[in-house]
């Protein structure tokens, strides 16, 4: 022990610490994020080096050359770090474990870009440019697919090379859930089912929709004292009304609680229908961009197109949101049944 301390003079220690720092720098990010595991690993390697030095020097004080010899026997920092990246089963540059998430990511991004292209197509057709609209739709979809595939593939190849696995993206709650499943002997293939009726979210949605709707309906808050165009006031009031209706419908769902799934579906359907009323409101602003309040202050022609584009995107999101809401409404009962079955698995 004393001989070891004699070997640990400041120069030798500095050399060893530098080597450990080089290893740490080369390690994958997922390991660097786990501080205690990282420190454990580096401590263990450091102890190993001092043991090796002791073996080489036979307990005598070590020279720097002997320290270097001991470190050389450990292998290069890259080689050690690469062993930690050797995780996952290789598939095609992307590991088998990350493949499902990769495919899911591609589907989501492509779906969003497809919907935006379709919305653009609808407006182009409405403007009377059918030929151009079709060409733009096809080229837009193609470009969207190519660019999104390229970017997402690069990201996942990078993650695979660093040895990332799906578990590295799990939240603490998901990890705890998995541990519980393991302890209960539930197989890994059981996916956690969440309750599709989230009362907290419904309360929040209801309150915010009611407040926002009330503000739009009454224009009770106008800090800059803007003088609105009467037509725009009507637009705000109609929007406010839709928000208030949505808030009331959400509140209705809160009152239903976990009962009457059919009741929930009816209220969700009404919410979708009233939400679609934003489309004609958006079209009014697109066709009359001068009613937008900024024109009272700044009279610049180019802003017309900006406002029109902004509301086109808004309508795109309304359509997209309606599609998603419709899917959630249709699958509500099946998701709730799966959630109850999953919950019973833990209670039995």
């Amino acid at each position: 022990m004393e001989e070891t301390k004699m070997s640990q003079n400041s120069e030798n220690v500095k050399y060893v610490k530098t080597y450990l720092k080089q290893i740490e720098e080369k390690l994958p990010e997922w390991l660097k994020e786990k501080k205690s595991e990282l420190n454990d690993l580096l401590d263990e390697i450091e102890q190993h080096i001092w043991d090796k030095i002791e073996e080489i020097t036979q307990g005598q004080p070590a020279s720097l050359i002997e320290v270097q010899k001991a470190i050389a026997s450990m292998g290069s920092p890259e080689k050690i770090a690469n062993e930690y990246k050797r995780r996952g089963t290789p598939k095609v540059y992307i590991t088998q474990e990350l493949w499902p998430i990769y495919l899911k990511g591609l589907k989501i991004i492509f779906s969003i870009l497809l919907i935006l292209n379709i919305v653009g197509f609808i407006f182009s057709v409405a403007d009377g440019e059918v030929g151009d609209a079709i060409w733009n739709l096809l080229s837009g979809v193609f470009n969207a697919f190519v660019i999104s595939s390229f970017i997402i593939t690069l990201i996942f190849v990078g993650l695979s090379m660093e040895g990332y696995l799906p578990e590295d993206f799990e939240t603490k709650e998901e990890k705890a859930e998995k541990e519980t499943q393991k302890k209960l002997g539930i197989g890994e293939s059981i996916k956690k089912e969440e309750n599709p009726i989230k009362i907290g979210e419904l309360i929040f949605g209801s309150v915010s929709a009611l407040i926002f709707g009330f503000l739009l309906l009454t224009q009770s808050i106008n800090p800059f004292e803007i003088v609105f165009d009467p037509q725009f006031i009507a637009v705000m009031q109609y929007s406010g009304l839709i928000f208030i209706i949505s808030g009331v419908l959400h509140f209705g769902r809160v009152l239903l609680g976990q009962k009457s799934l059919s009741g929930h579906q009816i209220l969700m359907t009404l919410d979708i229908i009233f939400g679609l009323f934003f489309i004609p409101i958006g079209l009014i602003v697109i066709n009359n961009p001068e009613i937008f309040p900024f024109f009272n202050v700044i009279d610049i022609q180019e802003i017309y197109n900006g406002v029109a584009l902004g509301f086109k995107i808004f309508i795109g999101f309304v359509i997209f949101g309606s599609v998603v809401a419709f899917y959630e409404m249709v699958t509500l009962k099946s998701k709730h049944a799966r959630y109850l079955a999953y919950k019973n698995m833990f209670n039995s």
Binding site: M1, I23, D40, L41, D43, E44, I45, Q47, H48, W50, D51, K52, S73, M74, G75, K79, I80, E83, Y84, R86, R87
Partner: protein, 190 residues
């Protein structure tokens, strides 16, 4: 006397440890060395893990720390199997994460060390893999011209799944891995 070329010095692969050779020797070719080094790495990858587990298994519940494990492997294999020391720890971490081994911190000679020992599941997996490896080597003896003598009085290899079964444990009737009734089979083979 022809020039002697020195290469390598106690590194991972066998061929890298060859220190002296004649200039016109086959291993003087860089391509040949690179190819065989690669091949040796492939062979050693799985065997190293098995060797590590074999040593850990022998230590029982006491366990063994990394450096001592390395030294024991070198000793038992007469310095034939030499692991690149730093890369042993990722292997140990992976085995720990897979539930094959477990670690506990203990202080030895004033220094905290991680002592590794087998888990119950690890022992099962190890027996299975050792059985497979043993039967594999035995099956290759005629192809490769090697002689293999199995310790038949101490171990039995399940004819169904090759699981290695310790006959020194009394009243082993069934294979732990596949459930095959081995008592009857043993009687027939006798």
């Amino acid at each position: 006397m022809k020039n002697i070329v020195w290469i390598g010095n106690g590194e991972y692969c066998m061929i890298k440890r060859v220190k002296t050779f004649l200039p016109d020797a086959t291993i003087n070719s860089a391509e040949y060395r690179a190819y065989t080094e690669n091949f040796e790495s492939e062979i050693l990858r799985g065997i190293s893990t098995l060797a590590i587990l074999s040593i850990i298994q022998k230590t029982g519940s006491e366990g063994i720390y990394g450096y001592a494990l390395l030294k024991q492997i070198e000793q038992e294999t007469r310095n034939i199997l030499i692991l690149e020391e730093g890369t042993m720890y990722p292997i140990l971490k992976k085995l720990e994460k897979d539930g094959i081994i477990e670690s506990k911190k203990q202080v030895y000679e004033g220094r905290p060390r991680n002592y590794y020992s087998m888990t119950t599941q690890g022992n099962r997996v190890y027996n299975h893999l050792m059985g497979f490896f043993t039967k594999l080597v035995e099956s290759l003896k005629s192809i490769m011209g090697i002689d293999v003598i199995l310790p038949e009085k101490s171990f039995f290899y399940c004819p169904n799944c090759a699981n290695k079964i310790d006959l020194r444990i009394k009243e082993v009737r069934f294979c732990e891995a596949c459930g095959l009734n081995i008592q009857d089979i043993q009687k027939i083979s006798k």
